[in-house]
Amino acid sequence: MADILVVVEHQDGVFKKNTLSAVSAAKALAGLFGGEVDALVLGDGVAAVADVMAGTGVRKVLLGEGAAFAKYLAATYAGAVAQVVKAKGYGAVFAPASTFGKDFMPRLSGLLDAPLASDIVGLEKDGDALRVKRPMYAGNAIGTVELVGSPLLFTVRQTAFNPAAMGGEKTPVEKATVTAEAGGTAFVSRQETKSERPELTEARVIVSAGRGIKAQENFKLVEELADQLNAAIGASRAAVDAGWAPNDWQVGQTGKIVAPVLYIALGISGAIQHLAGMKDSKVIVAINKDEEAPIFQVADYGLVADLFKAVPEMIAELKKLKSA
């Protein structure tokens, strides 16, 4: 089939690793149906991002720069990607299923009148036909989907595809000519959640807290445990709604989808919508004082206990382990 384009995510010039899963998905499609995988970097002064991408095994990196791309906007991105797709005849476009990809990719679908499969977890070949797998109903069903038309558009669930390796042999970076049309939108400001911790979607260990944590100041306890484990911190919707945790900590159907090696749920009941975001974690620990809590159905190690008693004990044990 025709060649494939991956749209690279970065935050003000800082490369986002979720792009690497989109590269893997694009390569999976190329493996099934042929075609070469290229990457597109849009921004202003983002040659460093293009340089990182050039080491990920793509055929080449297209670099579209201009002051109008300095801040991400759905309209400028969707418009520029549409130009590149039309000019070069790409047959498929991939982006991460982050709030970045979920924002501009449907707009691209509308601009190109092209079918989009969101949040895909698999690509298969059935005879000559492409079959796409994607979770539906909060992950309670995996749909097999067929796309009709061209180009085919995909946003990729990061946890479902192993990231492409970085730091390989450098492939060419080419300038792409793109124009930006902000179409009545303008960037105003960004309020970054500051954290020294690993990113939720990249962390090996996540400690998550829910309504059972009861107050914002009790997140100190969660942080202490996370410190011992070099973990990222997550939260249930209830904890975010209460204002105890920032919105981008929310794990679940409508928040972040995570699959760390170890997920520790503290005072989280395990609603369907929360499970949708974490049930593919390798090992799940749940601490909840209600032995009937549904979170225990997915936990490998369930502990019925008061978290305010159990967590300090865990912290003490971990400190002991470290000094041993």
Binding site: P106, R107, L108, V148, D241, Y301
Partner: protein
């Protein structure tokens, strides 16, 4: 301000879905259909804007006749009237967006509010596609909408990875609601009574001249891989020792 709110009925998200034996869909017998929670948030926001700026709130849905029930729920919350574009349930996001674009043009809406995601298909697409089809600005995943003094522009705060972002959109625009935009009201009893008499225009989809041939087809559904959970530990000491020597994750 004339506000159009697109809503979609979904199976009650708090009930566990069961997949039909042949994988052709989910079992809907005895499952209550409700307004998609994100669409409820969109309706609530529209009502609050109308309370401040006056105007009209029109609810629109694209789907089978039975959607009338959920449309009436939105009317009971306080929307003024409704348009039900009667169509099958097999329309994909592109088709729904194109149909909605016709209704938006017909109604001369100044603002379109929608949910960010329907919690059945989990697509998170229609609002952004609609904005592209109309050539309008979009602001997805909104947690706050503030109008400029002349009501020709709005600052929308969006829930994004890494925090919050504020963008300015010129109106008319499409805004999709995230969870923290507001807390939807419950319909009052008088609201429910009044809703029965509010206007609901039924429009056959064929009359709109939109090609609705699906471009994204769901061929089948299967259950996800089952997780063997349910393991228990007696205390923190056992937990830590198992994490170390059995799971080998410490």
């Amino acid at each position: 301000m004339k506000i159009l709110v697109a809503i979609k009925p979904v199976p009650n998200p708090d009930e566990k879905v069961k997949i039909k034996g042949d994988g052709s869909g989910i079992v809907l017998d005895n499952i209550k259909m409700v307004v998609n929670p994100f669409c409820e948030i969109a309706v609530e926001e529209a009502l609050r804007i109308r309370e401040k700026l006056t105007g009209e709130v029109v609810v629109v849905t694209v789907g089978p006749k039975e959607s009338e029930q959920q449309v009436r729920s939105a009317l009971a919350m306080g929307a003024d009237r409704a348009v039900l574009v009667e169509a099958g349930t097999d329309l994909d996001s592109l088709a729904v967006a194109k149909v909605l674009a016709k209704v938006v043009a017909d109604e001369k809406a100044e603002l379109v509010l929608m949910g960010k995601q329907s919690v059945d298909d989990d697509n998170n697409q229609v609002g952004q596609i609609l904005a592209a089809v109309l050539g309008w600005p979009q602001a997805s995943f909104a947690s706050k909408i503030e109008f400029a003094a002349d009501n020709k522009k709005a600052n929308v705060t969006r829930e994004v990875d890494g925090g919050l972002e504020t963008i300015e959109v010129a109106l008319p625009a499409v805004v999709t609601a995230d969870l923290r935009l507001n807390e939807p009201r419950y319909a009052s009893l008088p609201g429910i009574m009044k809703a029965k008499k509010k206007e609901m225009k039924v429009v056959p989809v064929a009359s709109l001249g939109v090609d609705t041939t699906p471009r994204v087809k769901v061929l089948s559904l299967a259950p996800p891989p089952l997780r063997a959970g349910g393991g228990r530990v007696a205390d923190v000491a056992e937990l830590m020792s198992k994490l170390k020597s059995e799971a080998k994750v410490l």
